[in-house]
């Protein structure tokens, strides 16, 4: 089975998805990332999906799960590079990917993570409206 590589750059783990996201690949990525975050102690994860033509509901949910898992492990996740066509399809399907932070490209994603780290811990201020909705992996308190 194909695997998505996870690269460590400074304090950030970079994942660039260049292959079709089949369900198994998505689940494997979820496991790999959790292990790597713990192993490296990184505080940020950037997932680049600019090569993805299709994001279905399963991939969307896996991304949300990854974001929730990494938050538990004290790492912030940013999904970057979503294509306009993908965004339009997701909106038409009514999937707004709750709990996922997004940026236009890797550079802006790194800026976003850097700002987060500066604000250090005061997550409440940074919480945007999208995060109000619950993600599947974290049950409501």
């Amino acid at each position: 089975m194909e695997r998505v590589p996870v690269l460590k750059i400074g304090d950030i783990l970079l994942v660039s998805i260049q292959i079709d996201m089949e369900d198994q690949v998505a689940l494997q990525l979820q496991e790999d990332l959790a292990e790597r975050i713990v192993a490296t102690g990184c505080h940020g994860v950037i997932i680049d999906i600019s090569a993805l033509d299709i994001v279905d509901s399963f991939v969307g949910r896996t991304l949300a799960t990854i974001a929730a898992i990494s938050r538990v492990l004290d790492a912030e996740t940013v999904v970057v590079g979503m294509r306009p066509a993908v965004a339009i399809t997701l909106v038409e399907l009514g999937l707004s990917l709750p709990g996922i932070r997004t940026a236009l490209n890797v550079e802006l994603g790194m800026d976003l993570l850097a700002r987060e780290r500066e604000d250090n811990g005061d997550d409440d201020e940074e919480t945007n409206g999208l995060e109000g909705a619950e993600t599947p992996a974290v049950p409501a308190p």
Binding site: P84, A87, I88, V91, T102
Partner: protein, 280 residues
Amino acid sequence: MTLSADEAARFAVVLEDHQEALVTFWTDRVAATLRGRLSHAELQRQNAELRRGFQQALAGSAQDLSGEAATELRAQLAELSATRARQGFSTTETAVSIFSLKDAVLAALDTQGQVDAATLRDYIAFSSFVDEAALFTFDSYVRVREELIADQAEQLLELSTPVVKLWEGVVAVPLVGTLDSARAQVVMERLLQTLVDTGSPYAIIDITGVPAVDTQVAQHILKTVVAARLMGADCIISGIRPQIAQTIVALGIEFGDIATKSSLADALRYVLTQTGKKAR
């Protein structure tokens, strides 16, 4: 009523024998209705060609316009109406160009002395053939005009949805005119593509030029904003006029946590303070 093979052949002969007088008479008639907007020489040439078309169709014993023998005539008629439609002539003027052939033929028959009953019956059959030709012209005329309108609508769509860069990292879409589904789709695609191309994390949607906001228009705008958010860009809606604000509230449209400003200037100031805060 269709032409019999005999009638067709007889008329082919008439058209051939009287061609000079026929074309002159016909051209005079058409020139009178068009009132000098086409030169006499040009009309003469067109009519001479059309006469040849009719003559050949009839000589090939075409019973009606849909037959094999009339293929060339049909092409000629379509060509004529297409040119007339583009030059801005009315439907009547275009149809009369064909109908006048009947007058011309009648005049040609008349010069032979008296017209007997048999000739008149022939003439009526022939005249229905010409009617058919004129109706065909009418159809092609309308088709060409519809194509023209569709082309123009498409061009207008292209023209009316610019995305402009306002500041480093800030783009704006000034919406002018009514937003229907087709336009909303074009606006959405173009805005999102520009966000990717320029890497701008902020977009301002200015609705000053939108005459009315109903639930459907609001839905389109909301979809655009949510799609932009998914891609990691923030949208601000600006240019909300007082009446529009009242309508929005009266209709119970919720913009949620999307920032709305009354003017484009306010929106730009808001974005700049936001980026200033983030860049500290």
